[in-house]
């Protein structure tokens, strides 16, 4: 069995090497950032001030904390974008060739005539590949988790919900989801390049759809005025000069209709907002706490795992019905 797994890995070595290199280079990047930050770690008391009272209250700690945070900020968006796209690219890269590669190189005839069960053949192919790819993505996830931990401190003790799925097991779950899509699309299309592009596109499309579900999930929680609290905004309200809080709809009803009409079709109701502000109304953000919002993370991971599992199921179904070359 080990010998067979080794042969499978050898068969898929090129895509595995590329995907593992991408994942491990990203992990090494995170480690490098962490090592540099470890060299200038501010005293614990400074970090306490940063987390409990914010950047403005640092005082003498400003210099050491800024030196530490600058390294984090330098990695910043580039690292975030890399960890956002990595699981989609790596998952499709190793998932697509398992079936599409066989169809394209016309080896299915021999493979499926040697294997009495095509399902078992597919399982024997995908398990070693998924394990190796999964472990390398997990290494990236663990390293990115350290970066996210520092981001949390730098943000005053709050995690950013935008980064859900960019670190830890959430990153691996995204990779697994796209791996499954790659397998299924590869079985359907039978050509590697179109299947790869389609898989990445579908993975990102699923992310977009899931972001909509996430926002609806956020909105389903009771919102409160965020004020100075760091939270996840889900809308806004208006505070009247007498202190009463009005919903956006109720406040807009006070605005002269001709101004409201001018805002129709616009992204932002600028005229209505301006009128309300000129009449002493204050716009307040409402939303949910970060702790509540972070509760979304396991749901996202589960969604990707289910996506991957169901796509693998589709791939099994297709493989059992497909005519070999």
């Amino acid at each position: 069995m080990i010998r067979a797994a080794w042969v499978t890995l050898k068969l898929h070595r090129i895509e595995l090497i590329v995907a593992a290199t991408l994942a491990l280079v990203t992990a090494a990047w995170a480690v490098w950032v962490e090592v540099r930050m470890a060299g200038v770690t501010p005293p614990a008391a400074c970090m306490d001030i940063l987390i409990t009272r914010g950047y403005e209250a640092l005082g003498d700690c400003t210099g050491p904390v800024r030196a530490w945070g600058t390294i984090l900020v330098e990695a910043g968006d580039n690292f975030r974008i890399t960890t956002e796209f990595l699981p989609f690219v790596a998952g499709a890269l190793v998932g697509v060739p398992i079936i599409a590669g066989e169809i394209e190189s016309r080896t299915t005839g021999m493979a499926w005539s040697l294997n009495p069960s095509r399902t078992r053949w597919l399982v024997r192919q995908l398990v070693p590949v998924a394990l190796v790819a999964g472990l390398t993505l997990l290494a990236t996830g663990v390293a990115a988790e350290a970066i996210e931990h520092d981001n949390e401190a730098w943000s005053g003790g709050y995690r950013d919900v935008i980064n859900i799925g960019h670190y830890g097991t959430g990153l691996v779950a995204r990779g697994f989801g796209v791996f499954g899509i790659g397998l299924g699309i590869g079985a359907l299309v039978g050509r590697q390049l179109p299947a790869f592009l389609l898989s990445v596109a579908l993975g990102l499309g699923f992310l977009t759809g899931l972001t909509g579900v996430r926002d609806a999930w956020f909105a389903s929680h009771e919102a409160h005025v965020l004020g100075a609290e760091y939270g996840v905004p889900t809308g806004w309200v208006w505070q009247a000069p007498d202190g009463a809080v009005l919903t956006d709809k109720a406040a807009t009803a006070l605005v002269p209709p001709e101004l409201v009409a001018q805002d129709e079709g616009q992204m932002q109701p600028v005229h209505a907002a301006t009128w309300l502000e000129e009449h002493g109304y204050t716009q307040l953000s409402v939303g949910i706490s970060v702790d509540v919002a972070m509760g979304w993370a396991p749901y996202e991971a589960i969604a990707y795992v289910l996506l991957g599992a169901s796509s693998i199921g589709v791939a099994v179904w297709l493989v059992n019905r497909r005519r070999p070359a």
Binding site: A4, N115, R323
Partner: protein, 289 residues
């Protein structure tokens, strides 16, 4: 032709088999009814596109018949795929090996897929023709790759071997080596083999049964010895009636006729038997879409 007796004892049976790849396309196979007896080595002969590969692939469940059915040891390949595939050693038309893997890697894959796979036999087979099992398949010639594919099919120790034009890309010496290895194993084990080719002289020495397909239809199924005895060749102009099967040009350009039975003319060669039947088919209407 129906399946008589114990269907499970018959390696291959085709009942009114019809297959076409797409609606509105000509039939690749039509009304093929045939039984392949246990222990026989059958030459499946026909021109390119005659339906030989489709017939073989339908035995593995690779093609779904539109009409009729295929039975492998009494089992339907589409319903009992695992049992059917386990009973078949298959050499595909285009040798489809993994170019980046070694011969040994192929044997390891086969051993995992089929626990009964005899790795020692497979190694001995390729080493006998001077191939090191550590060599990558991508480095091998077409003949060497065909031998590896044959080793994979034979070492499964399956009772039924299906070889789809395995000789097509081989030079004469490689063909001889291939057939010698095949015959030694099949005759030694009493296995059943079907060997397709579009050149009858390739397989006539090896086979004891002859099946000829033309335009997707069965035009001849007989024992090789019977076919040789039964048919005679007569110069077409010397014919005065009789059971003429078909007319075709001889090597010198003169028209020859294949006749069924009688004592006129000379005994037909196997190639002439096939040519006569193919010529007869050519003059018959083709299968409509």
């Amino acid at each position: 032709m129906g399946i008589g007796g114990d269907a499970a004892a018959i390696p291959l049976a085709f009942e009114h088999l019809g297959h076409r790849y797409r609606r509105n396309r000509p039939w690749a196979l039509r009304e093929v009814s045939l039984e392949i007896p246990e222990g026989s080595i059958t030459a499946l002969v026909g021109a390119n596109g005659a339906g030989k590969s489709t017939l073989i692939r339908s035995c593995l469940g690779f093609e779904r018949p539109n009409e009729g059915r295929v039975l492998v040891y009494g089992l339907d390949p589409r319903r009992d795929r695992a049992a059917v595939v386990s009973s078949i050693g298959y050499v595909p038309q285009a040798t489809a090996l993994y170019r980046g893997l070694t011969i040994d890697d192929h044997f390891a894959m086969a051993k995992t897929a089929r626990p009964a796979f005899d790795t020692g036999f497979a190694r001995a087979h390729v080493e006998r023709i001077g191939l090191a099992t550590s060599r990558r398949v991508g480095e091998l010639s077409g003949g060497e790759q065909a031998q590896v594919a044959l080793a994979l099919a034979l070492a499964g120790r399956s009772p039924l071997l299906l070889l789809d034009e395995p000789l097509a890309s081989l030079d004469p010496l490689a063909r001889r080596d291939f057939l010698t290895a095949l015959l030694a194993d099949v005759r030694g084990r009493g296995a059943t083999a079907v060997l397709s080719s579009h050149i009858v002289t390739d397989v006539e020495q090896a086979c004891d049964r002859l099946v000829v397909l033309a335009d997707g239809q069965l035009v001849l199924s007989d024992a090789v010895a019977t076919a040789r005895e039964r048919y005679r060749i007569v110069a077409a102009e010397a014919l005065d009636g009789g059971a003429v099967i078909g007319r075709f040009a001889g090597p010198d350009g003169s028209m020859l006729a294949l006749v069924d039975g009688g004592t006129v003319g000379r005994q037909a060669t196997l190639e002439e038997v096939v040519l006569g039947h193919l010529a007869a088919r050519r003059s018959a209407p083709r299968l409509a879409a």
